[in-house]
Symmetry: C2
Subunit: 647 residues, 2 copies
């Protein structure tokens, strides 16, 4: 992977930078830390708040979604019904010698990748170690053995499909390719549920939610009422979800506790799931990797306009397509490198148990392509199972514009005569008549015409069946008018993992000065940067203090986060330190400032400076932070400042 | 309790309103709900986001705190060390007949309040039923029995101190006053731990955090480094915490999962915990109920300037006092009724195990005075116990401005001679010398002078003691210069429960139209209201649509949440419905608008309207929402519109 200026990306440098500046840290470090749990320090916490706010603006507010804040603690019954108790699992292999529990797909992946690397070394090709986390390397060492061409191809195809295998298939791969944990054979893959369980006071067993979706679905009836019974509409939720990985790795990319943003768009399953604003975005092109390409063992991405993708059936429907485009626009807004974004369709056996179609927005990082947003068509799965279980009306009742005329066979028992005749059996017989299918009714109407009576099976009565004469029953074709339509909505769900997006953003924003590779920069968009302006007095001379304080208060009044760095190192060092925090702008207070109240304004990415009056500088800051001007604009209209950055 | 216009507050009306408008709902309602878990619907979720943003602005940004986002999942060891495993408990009484578990303090409170109400009825006084939740009433019925004057006074004193009793004391009260659960005797109070427990994959037992504080403390060393080793500073965190109530009641006021905002301000314990900005706020008056007043069984509140309260020792120090004032200012900003806010000091036995002093900001609701913010001086408790347990350096090392000259007894072993003489015992002997206290050294120096040798206990060597002659050891008074000072900071912690603040805000904002008690209004500040502007076309006439859409898009561009209500009910009904959602402003699009592009702007609280051009109306909205103008200002400068609200 390369940085935006085409140099090789260096993960170790980024990791050292974010560690030094406390972007994130292992949680509970004095206690040795806990795998898969991280604390966000002030810089990343600030970025997270800005990204979430942007998300709210881009999705929730613009599309007038109903935002909910639901309980994380979720009773057992809810997640039993949703299928998570039985199917939210990973496949685990136990190493019986060491007692280690290993994710079966990770084990296969590690070993095959190591063999492929060994093959490359044997062939004298370059091995891209950057692509793999340090931990993997330790587990499965490259053996420097050349592989048969056929076998090499087979390994590559397995790796391309690695997310799509079930437990049995993984077991077969492990046997066939003699995959081991080091030198140890492993036991066949078994299910391991990924939810954290706990107990609610006196109210029984519960889990920490694996997604925010279920609680949103259970509020569907209230939401529909709030929306004055109009379809379609969406609910949304931002909150933490949990996944009890047995032994997580890959830093921020695979954690046990994570912030999600989930949108549930409720749509009518009839009429092709059209979206009212699809027209506006139909020409936007996306980089797509569809199911068929992957099933063929390939990873070639095609650029396709979403309108064409939906028309050609590559993307199932307009609503799904609309969100894919909106996701791409969101990624652009927060500063994700658009050349490192692709949309990958899930393969059939890779999809979650509730999904009918699913596209992941994946971002390219030094760990490979990472799923950051899942965009699934959950069909009517969840609403249906909850309705069936609880009887709650999780459906839409709408008045038909045109009443529906249904021609059908109607079967009517004459109650006045049947009642006295059948006495206690009457109810069961009536129920049996009501339960007759259209086909049965048609057949029985012929019997009735031909023989003047019919024989009806009624298992509930002692005789087992009953004869009904013409006088007792009427069966005839008639037209019924249906004014109301009832249906269970389908759900299109874009689901965002903010932690993964933030990590990718760190990698995409990272580069080093062309003239000094030791100087790291994080080029965040001004709207996303945790601090917008660095205030730097030239030295510790106290004459600068009132000016620094005044600028600080004025920026604060303008709602712009500023930070003062009055430490005793050189101005150049202070700027460089804050380039590594991603602070886009800097204002220097120098002796000239004391004389004429002018200040210099510095741009992080170009390190160029301009000099102007306080009012002009503040206005330029405001324009830059709110993205009403670019640095080039500011540079064009304000006088340049050519003073050296003293090192 | 009364509403802001002096009428009796009606909780049932508010509850019906918030239910109808989906402010909050029991979580997982189709499954019967779970006690103590609530989902926030769109209106309350929007208010919460606004209040949290205001909190970030008011505290985190203004005071440049380090905001952290830490793990909710917390390993056992951390909370064992912090004392929560042993002391984060409630006292429970079991009813052996029904198997019910009851909070001991609630039981005492319920029964004594019922008896006092019975006494009032017997005396023919009015019983304020509004003050108590419906559920309490059911449990302990008023008996209509007149109490002895002495006994009545004793009951009132117990209730004033109810939060301050431990398990033993509650047990004694239950025995002495024959307190029962209905007709059943209860067993003596026992401890019940309030944390949710779970297991972290292969990493062992854990809890859901009961507070965000512990993870913040464990980051202290990194934070201090980020702050370039300067003191004082603060960290802050917004996130969910958990409390496994056995059987919660009182709606949003007593929940199992809640959003907290916690600030940890790290201060030097020496020099009186002064605050650099105390001077700015020292004249602000607070309504205070101190410890002594309560211990005397009274509840009289005094208005005292914070400067005087600190000077008189009512509030322990400036930093604590500074935050009390900042809390009051925050409450004012979000619209809490200032006449329903008081600061109550914890009594000695009521404080959490870590606290040295604590003041609660309490808000008056129909449930009584509710603790919404706790402001505690946690002393050095937490940092000390974690440092002791883990060895992490959770302390400050600072260079003394004036080096400290310490006169002390120094004892020095002559290593060159001692080494060959004592061989393998040498190290133990040297350690024993180093471990000598100042008193011992002084005494031994006299021995050495008198007898030319000393006898030193060294339990680690086989002989158990050793003789050291003058040639081997020197003991003398000397001056040591200490350039560095080491100390463990104290922590002042304002801790906010957002759910309780939001509920109180609902009660404080609620009133009904003077001319129509059926019309409910929620008078939120514009900055807090979930929707700022209601857009109302006069009728379903499609000629209004382009104008409504244009206004909607323009408001959206200005960052102002607008909502269109084009339902077919009258304009009056639509306004009234949105008064109950707390929407402060309304714009009507009528036939005049089509002709001349003027619109009416309506104020929720007065129902008055003005009419002006689109630009003027949008500018007025912007000013009102950002609180740069009041409605009175707008009304004074724009022409009034006298059209009736058609009902």
């Amino acid at each position: 992977m390369t940085t935006h200026d085409g140099k090789p990306f260096n993960r170790e440098m980024l990791e050292s930078l974010v560690r030094r500046r406390c972007f994130y840290l292992p949680s509970f470090e004095p206690y040795g830390g806990v795998k898969g749990l991280y604390d966000y320090g002030a810089p990343l916490c600030g970025i997270q708040t800005n990204v979430v706010n942007e998300w709210r603006k881009h999705f929730v507010k613009r599309e007038k979604m109903f935002e909910l804040d639901c309980s994380v603690l979720t009773p057992y019954d809810v997640l039993k019904t949703s299928g998570h108790v039985d199917r939210f699992i990973d496949w685990m292999c136990k190493d019986p010698k060491t007692g280690e529990l290993l994710r079966a797909d990770h084990l296969v992946e590690d070993v095959l990748e190591a063999r492929l690397n060994g093959d490359k070394e044997a062939r004298g090709e370059k091995v891209e170690t950057q692509e793999e986390p340090a931990k993997k390397k330790k587990k499965a060492k490259a053996m420097n053995v050349k592989l048969d061409d056929e076998l090499k191809k087979e390994y590559e195809e397995i790796l391309a499909k690695i997310d799509g295998y079930n437990g049995e298939e993984l077991g077969l791969l492990i046997t066939k390719h003699r995959i081991k944990n080091g030198d140890n054979e492993v036991l066949p893959p078994v299910e391991y549920n990924l939810m954290f369980s706990t107990t609610l006071g006196a109210s029984g067993p519960a889990f920490l939610r694996p997604e925010t979706a279920q609680a949103q679905f259970l509020n569907f009836a209230s939401l529909l009422e709030q929306n004055q019974n109009e379809m379609p509409f969406a609910s949304a939720s931002v909150g933490k979800s949990y996944r009890n990985e047995i032994s997580p790795r890959s830093g921020l990319l695979r954690v046990r506790e994570f912030l999600m943003g989930e949108i549930e768009m409720y749509v009518d399953p009839e009429g092709g799931k059209k979206h009212p604003r699809f027209e506006e975005i139909k020409d936007v092109e996306l980089a797509m990797l569809d199911r068929h390409t992957q099933t063929a063992g390939k990873t070639d991405v095609r650029k396709i306009a979403i309108g064409k993708a939906v028309a050609d059936g590559i993307v199932d429907n307009e609503t799904l397509g609309y969100f894919l485009v909106r996701i791409q626009q969101f990624m652009a807004k927060i500063g994700v490198d658009q050349s490192k974004l692709r949309f990958r369709q899930h393969m059939a056996n890779e999809m979650a148990h509730y999904a009918a179609d699913c596209w992941d927005a994946e971002l390219l990082t030094s760990y490979g392509w990472i799923e950051c947003v899942g965009c699934a068509d959950r069909s009517a799965y969840d609403l249906t199972v909850h309705m069936k279980k609880t009887g709650a009306a999780l459906l839409v009742r709408e008045t038909r514009k045109q009443p529906l005329h249904i021609e059908e066979w109607q079967a009517t028992l004459d109650r006045k005569k049947a009642g006295p005749k059948f006495k206690k059996d009457g109810k069961a017989i009536e129920a049996a008549v009501d339960a007759l299918t259209q086909e049965m009714r048609e057949k029985l109407s012929l019997d009735l015409e031909r023989e003047g009576k019919i024989t009806l099976e009624v298992p509930e009565i002692s005789a087992g069946s009953v004869e009904l004469e013409k006088e007792l029953i009427k069966i005839e074709k008639a037209t019924r008018i249906e004014n109301t339509r009832e249906y269970i909505p389908n759900v299109i769900e874009p689901s965002f993992g903010f932690g993964r997006i933030l990590y990718s953003l760190l990698e995409h924003s990272f580069w080093t000065r062309p003239d000094d590779a030791a100087r790291s920069i994080l080029s965040f968009q001004p709207s996303i940067a945790p601090t917008k302006v660095l205030l730097v007095p030239l030295s510790k001379n106290t004459d600068f203090d009132p000016l620094v304080k005044r600028l600080d208060y004025k920026l604060s009044d303008l709602g712009i986060e500023a930070k003062v760095d009055a430490s005793s190192v050189s101005i150049g060092k202070r700027y460089s330190r804050n380039d590594g925090m991603g602070t886009p702008l800097g204002i220097t207070v120098d002796f000239q400032s004391i004389k004429d109240a002018t200040f210099t304004l510095r741009d992080r990415d170009t390190t160029k400076q301009v000099r102007a009056s306080e009012a002009e500088i503040l206005q330029a800051v405001l324009n830059l932070v709110h993205e009403r001007e670019t640095w080039a604009d500011v540079q064009a209209r304000l006088p340049a400042f050519e003073g050296q950055e003293v090192d």
